[in-house]
């Protein structure tokens, strides 16, 4: 996305299209700028200018429709003056004021760095600065701050404006608030990461359990033969205890990987917290003041009580360890706000309750928060790194969400979010069928993914792209859906799924019925496919974690390809007939 160094600043373009000699003219972007940053155009910018050349300098002429357009557009824009000290803002349009919440007199005369703050990435700032120094265009996604201190992700575009002789006059900059998109992308990637790590962990635990079986079994056999040898018996006993610790560890790994055997029953979290608090007080020690803030009349959930208590204890112990000198820990319950549910958590519609644990400890940096639930990630000298990983696994397996809010020096709030129990005993599995409004021409995509959160996110993404989405949590469910719903336009499936029908088998079975069905396979381990001798040659494969834009592109390409193929066939048919 860079356009050459200082010495190769683009000269004024020779050709001015068919425009009049007096018109401003520019250098088309040719799709070079966007890189990894967001493009408000939905595709790479080609014809918009990345550098402008004006025949008339100055900002005084505000008489024409072009000025009205600049003040009317909802795209925030500023113009800075690099010929003044510190390149201050010379003009900001009304949309910019709307976006940032500043008044005009607060911005004009100041450098754009007023929008930056503590968490703005210095690398990104440096990238912008280099472009400005080299008098060339740049497009970046940068974390900025509004007048009231709110953070927002800004898709920033900057380009230079020269006079006819190539002397720098201004910089033009446009901004787009892409915060929602950014957060959604982040949680999507996080969910995929946890899913991939979970699969890896489950495989690891499985292999270790088999090895431990060989070890403990042989120790048992050896034990039978050492009745008269106490030294040997002691040695065998030690080895057995170590193997038992190993088995506990693999149990924890399986909890993280959501393979725990749960016994969910209807329970009220308020009751559970009250019953458990006596035990918690003992575990936390006398330097911790445990307070309860329970919402009266909290709806019930369907949860495994023993695992729920373990999860709560894990979070409480973390809170205690964050306050070595003691302090207050609050355990609270509440009903999840509906807007928060859909915006932040991408949870299925329905009522949810939150159990939160709030401490007043040291807090965590954003980097630590992002990795806090990763298995084996720990900041404690003697930690196993499995505590929050297990909590995460349990919450996910219970169709909920784990959420951690923390700031250095300000303490941590951990929220465990669970669906409210259905009034009657209804299967709590996710809905098999998700219909989207749309006419018959809307492409129908069958989405198959066993991880609830990844599936829900993919579903909402595909729907936002305008597809009709039918989603299934397993190969078996997908085949049933095909029976019920009829032909699909595309199958998008995970490869590794529990149960008898993995993604490849599913794809093959569906092709038996719909021979031309485009198939997109998602997999975290391309090596795994090869090692299992699975033949993916007939299908399009996308690596996990995938970017949403990538999925959109691949699906569009596959659908286009199919359309072209069917047109060609139709033509051939006509010609022959």
């Amino acid at each position: 996305m860079t356009l050459g160094s200082k010495d190769t600043r683009p000269p004024p373009p020779e050709q001015r299209d068919e425009s009049d000699p007096g018109d401003a003219f520019g250098l088309p972007a040719q799709g070079q700028l966007d890189g990894d940053s967001f493009s408000p155009l939905g595709n790479p910018g080609v014809r918009h200018w990345q550098a402008g050349y004006v025949t008339q300098a100055g900002l005084e002429d505000r008489s024409s429709v072009f000025f009205a357009a600049v003040e009317m557009t909802r795209m925030p824009m500023v113009i800075t003056d690099p010929n003044q000290p510190d390149n201050p803002i010379a003009f900001a349009n009304k949309a910019f004021l709307d976006l940032t919440g500043y008044e005009e007199e607060q911005v004009v005369g100041r450098n754009c760095r007023m929008l930056q703050g503590e968490e703005t990435d210095p690398e990104t700032v440096a990238e912008v600065r280099r472009a400005v120094q080299e008098q060339r265009a740049v497009a970046v996604d940068i974390l900025n701050y509004k007048a009231d201190g709110t953070k927002f992700w800004n898709a920033l575009f900057i380009g230079p404006v020269f006079d006819e002789d190539g002397r720098l006059l201004y910089f033009f900059a446009s901004q787009v608030d892409i915060t929602r998109r950014r957060l959604s992308e982040q949680s999507f990637r996080q969910a995929q990461k946890m899913e991939a790590v979970g699969q890896l962990t489950a495989g690891l635990a499985h292999d270790f359990n088999n090895l431990l079986q060989v070890v403990t079994g042989n120790l048992e056999v050896a034990e039978l033969h050492c009745r008269d040898n106490p030294a040997l018996a002691t040695a065998i006993g030690n080895a057995q205890r170590a193997a038992e610790s190993g088995a506990r560890l693999t149990q924890q790994l399986l909890t993280f990987a959501r393979k725990q055997r749960l016994d969910p029953r209807r329970l009220n979290l308020n009751g559970l917290v009250v019953d458990f608090s006596e035990m918690a007080v003992r575990a936390l020690g006398d330097r911790i003041d445990l307070r309860l803030d329970l919402r009266p009349g909290l709806p019930s959930c369907t949860l495994d009580a023993a695992h729920m208590e373990m999860a709560l204890l894990n979070v409480l112990l973390n809170a205690r360890d964050a306050m070595p000198d003691g302090g207050v820990i609050t355990v609270g319950t509440s009903v999840l706000d509906e807007r928060r549910r859909s915006e932040r958590h991408h949870l299925q519609p329905g009522q949810y309750v939150t159990l939160c644990v709030i401490d007043e400890g040291d807090g965590m940096s954003p980097d630590v928060v992002n990795r806090a639930a990763d298995p084996f990630f720990t900041t404690k000298p003697l930690g196993t790194g499995l505590g929050l990983a297990m909590v995460h696994g349990f919450v996910q397996q219970s169709h909920g969400r784990l959420e951690i809010d923390s700031e250095l020096g300000r303490g941590t709030t951990v929220r465990l979010i669970f669906p409210v129990a259905a009034e009657r005993s209804v299967n709590p599995m996710p809905g098999n069928l998700t219909l989207n409004e749309g006419d018959d021409a809307t492409p129908r995509i069958l989405l198959v993914e066993d991880s609830d959160d990844v599936r829900q996110l993919a579903e909402s993404h595909l729907r936002s792209l305008g597809y009709r989405v039918f989603s299934a949590a397993s190969g078996e469910q997908a085949l049933r859906l095909l029976d019920e719903q009829g032909a699909m336009d595309l199958l998008f499936t995970d490869v590794m799924m529990p149960g008898g029908i993995n993604g490849l088998v599913l794809a093959e079975r569906m092709r038996e019925r719909l021979p031309d069905l485009p198939v997109l396979l998602a997999t975290g381990y391309t090596d795994e496919l090869a090692s299992q001798g699975l033949n993916t040659a007939a299908f399009s494969v996308i690596g996990k974690p995938y970017r949403r834009a990538e999925v959109a592109e691949r699906i569009r390409a596959l659908l286009d390809e199919r359309d072209t193929a069917s047109r060609v066939r139709a033509d051939t048919f006509r010609h022959e007939g």
Binding site: A202, A205, H206, D207, F208, N209, N210, L212, Q213, V214, V215, T216, G217, N218, E220, V221, A243, A247, Q251, L254, K259, Q260, R261, L262, G499, G500
Partner: protein, 116 residues
Amino acid sequence: MRHVLVVDDDPRIAELFASMLDGAGYRVSVALSGQAALERDAADPADALVSDLAMPGMNGRELLAALRERRPQLPALIVSGYPGNDLVALPRTRVLLKPIRLVQLVEHLEALQREG
């Protein structure tokens, strides 16, 4: 329930389980894959199955289903490195997570027998 079919793709584990059951007085057949187990059972039907879950080719789940097509009442002890949650609800089936103590094999087989 004198004849037990032991199936595990790890020969070390199959051998351990077999020698334990042999010592406890059972007649034991061993197979290292689901397919081999089916063939073995066709030639010499067993009274109970002790099987792993994750095996290349035919897995333990499929093996169990195939055997129960012939004998729906066949008692089964599934011993796997995965918890095998979905099998817990099946009748005459017990699911254990590896590693188990070898004596547990006998205890569970006896319990399955008592259940009828």
